[in-house]
Amino acid sequence: MAGSTDRAAVIMLMASFESNSWMIEAQGIGRRFGLQKALTDINLQIAEGEIFGLLGPDGAGKTTLMQILAAILDPSEGACSVLGFDTVKQTASITSRIGYMSQGFTLYDRLTVDENLVFSAKVRGIEGSVYQQRRQRLLAMAGLTQFSGRRAGNLSGGMRKKLSLCTNLIHEPPLLLLDELSLGVDPVSRRELWQMLREFRESGTTIVVTTPYMDEADYCDRLALLDHGQILALDSPDAMRRRGEGSVFELETSRAEEVLKVLADRPELGGVQWLGNVLHILLRPAATLPTDVLQTLQNLGDLHPASASLEDVFVQMTAPETAVPIPTFVPSSPTPGRAPALDVVRLKGVTCRFGDFTAVDNVMLTVPAGEVFGFLGPNGAGKTTLIRAMCALLKPASGEIQVAGVDVVKEPMRLRSRIGYMSQRFSLYTELTVAENLSFFAGVYGIDGSPRVEAIAWASDVIGLGGMEDRQVQEISGALRQRLALACSVLHKPAVLFLDEPTSGVDPVSRQRFWQLIQSLASTGMAVFVTTHYLEEATYCHRLGLMYEGRLIAVGSIPDLRSTLSMEESASMEDIFMAYIEREKESEEVTEAIR
């Protein structure tokens, strides 16, 4: 990626000679929705041929900014010019030239691949042989040629994104705005999408892309970190990471209790996380730990500086002024020497079907108490279906499921009081207060009288909800709601806790806090299942199950997964996932060949 950084620098240098050559120039853009400020004082200059990334959690204002750049939303303050046209006064000149891919899946599902493409082309006056040539090239690039007669609604998430991209490339726009390009796309398709984008960049297309995935940032020449409607930093990915240099340490230790005592209440800390058995220590910007503290830590374990990830930098920049919470528990990893933990979940040959479609295919798995187990995979891989089958919310077509000593298929009702479940959309009653929600869910689990008071006190203490019992849920932030939803699902101290995409839509700082909670619950002996499509979150889990097209294609801790395929230490979670998908595909081909 170093080459692309230089290239961007050169482009920017060249651009600065002629002031009119910016593709996008935003001056003090702000946007309010009612009283809420979605964007404040955004200043941006994007040069021709750049790939520019807008990085930030959900709700940071990325989409609002993209809509302003696409001239389909007027800023409340400031001015913005795109391709040299004013976004408010010369809307039509912009919209007739650019390509803009909005969030989500915005194709016409009932139309075929070809029909979608034809519509997009005709609207832009592309017809005849020019259209035929471009159609061929684009479909071939996207690997969609053989699916041209298929309805868009029947394509996989990755294919739909690629088709969306094609419909926006048919007029070969000089500027491409892509909102949440890779949301709901499997790692393989994601690489293919980026491959397409790089090819178009070669021919001079400028690309602006938003993403909540920090690991995608490396594809960009420059990045803007966006949080609460403001740009925190604007730099190349490497320069961005250099900001966090010297602030990140990792500590491998067997004397965790003592380490935590040393670190408690240190004002220099910006965030402390358990990654498996390793303590990841992030300092505040420009802060250093006193030498005696460093010395103590070195005596307690293997302390070494680590490279800062973009997420580290983001957390560092958004860390609250007040002391950050640090873990007060020791990770419950099943270390050798400890008594073998009881298996609380056993799956044998679990298969779930919807009509002809096999959503979960012959899954085999055992998970001990106290483990944090992560299901990783793109949307549609079968994660949610599998979790629902384990919670007895849907009946598998075949297979055995044992959870907390209960045969789920035969005794679904007995299971309910032993598990906790938190769904993607936190199912809370927004008109009720925090306390009323807790009390209601305690009632649901049949906890009455003084046990109810105790349970609520315990949960709000563990989850950290003290002092906001009387607030209405609709008034509290997304991160707090998430924690409240978690509290509601553990009131009855379940043996197994299921969390379905619990961290989507939450900023990195709150996400880290949430993972601490999950890990601390696990340290009490609860087995925790988490599904996520943030590959980065894999590091918080003891073991992972990689899901792909309904199958569990690999199970193990990250080091295990690496060593099984003898991959390097530096291999990222995405690399690992990709390698296993490749292996899976090869074995499929082999089976085909044998047949």
Partner: protein, 365 residues
């Protein structure tokens, strides 16, 4: 307006409609269901009213009067009462709707050329039919007289425009307006809001398509569907329900054409002020279906409403078309008689489109 771009929108929309069973169902089946349901169910005709008789005379004359009730075809004799208490109990329970009380000495009085009084008790809980039944009873009693005593003045009533007084002839032409008001706005609003809901409208905004190209291109297929619906219900009304057609078919279709645009335009207007399909549906039903039932004169005559409500009915275009449709189908009216309604409908349609175009901007907020 660029013709090719417009046609691209129309082609795209048509493709989507053809592959959506729900749209096709709503546009073909629902109007049929509604037409048959209302065509058969809504009958204001009074037939076979449950009749009870308390005959305190038991004479040839009293029996003759009872017979003339039964033979009129409007009444069917359910039971003979012996006492007043029985009458009261039976009316209370709704077993009979109308009771004829013939006093003793009825026959004797008639023989003496006196005018004896008979009593008719009517269950007035459903006032519309009660009134009609009472009128029928009055007419029967009035015509029951000794041939020896012709009255001086005779009333000979003739009903024009709907001579057999079949209420179906009155209901079906009204239904043309109600059906057109019910479905095309709904379909149109849903089609537009669906694109808002799934975000594809943003792709439209960020494209060279102008608002008018998009709107017109999108409305063409729905306008055609609505017009086909119109032709379908008119044909069924004529061939199946045998509603006589007095006027000029071309004139009816021409006014229907304006009305169709009006309804589709209302759908468009609804879509510009709603964000989700659910609210669009509710709003469309509230401003189209409900008032076209209540305030169009379809079932409830407007001239009997309080003055303020009469003004209120003018807000809803169904009213103009109900009058047009009945005026043309039943009365054989032409532009000469109905020009005001045509003009108002036209103005209305223009206003709806003007409002919708003013509301529709190529911006997300």
């Amino acid at each position: 307006m660029n013709w090719r771009r417009l046609m691209a929108v129309t082609a795209k929309e048509t493709g989507e409609i053809i592959r959506d069973p729900i749209t096709i169902g709503v546009s073909v089946l629902l109007p049929l269901v509604m037409l048959f349901l209302f065509g058969y169910a809504i009958s204001l005709d009074v037939e076979n009213v449950a009749l009870g008789v308390l005959d305190q005379d038991k004479s040839p004359a009293s029996r003759a009067l009872t017979d003339s009730f039964v033979q009129s075809g409007y009444f069917s004799l359910i039971r003979d009462f012996e006492t007043v208490e029985e009458v009261e109990a039976s009316l209370q329970r709704g077993k009979v709707k109308l009771v004829l009380v013939i006093p003793s000495r009825f026959h004797t009085a008639l023989m003496r050329n006196e005018s004896p009084a008979v009593q008719v008790l009517v269950d007035g809980t459903y006032s519309a039919t009660a009134l009609v039944a009472a009128n029928y009873a009055q007419a029967i009693v009035a015509s029951f007289r000794q041939p020896a005593r012709p009255s001086a003045v005779q009333l000979e009533a003739r009903v024009w425009y709907n001579a057999p007084m079949r209420s179906i002839n009155f209901v079906v032409p009204g239904l043309y307006a109600v059906i057109l008001m019910a479905f095309p706005p709904l379909l149109t609003a849903l089609a537009l809001v669906r694109e808002k809901e799934n975000g594809s409208i943003q792709q439209i905004f960020a494209s060279p398509l102008t608002s008018s190209e998009y709107i017109v291109g999108k409305l063409i297929p729905y306008g055609l569907i609505a017009f086909a619906q119109m032709i379908m219900v008119i044909s069924i009304g004529f061939f199946w329900f045998q509603v006589p057609f007095q006027g000029n078919l071309g004139f009816l279709l021409a006014t229907a054409f304006i009305f169709v645009f009006c309804t589709v335009g209302i759908g468009l207007l609804v879509s510009t002020i709603t964000r989700s399909q659910l609210t669009a549906m509710l709003l469309a039903l509230i401003i189209t279906l409900m008032p076209s039932f209540l305030f169009s004169g379809f079932l409830f005559p407007i001239f009997t409403m309080p003055y303020v409500l009469q003004l209120y009915t003018r807000i809803f275009p169904a009213r103009y078309f109900v009058e047009l449709s009945r005026g043309i189908v039943l009365k054989g009216g032409g532009l000469e008689e109905l020009w005001l309604n045509v003009a108002l409908l036209l103005l209305y349609t223009i206003a709806v489109f003007w409002l919708a175009a003013w509301r529709f901007r190529k911006k997300v907020a």
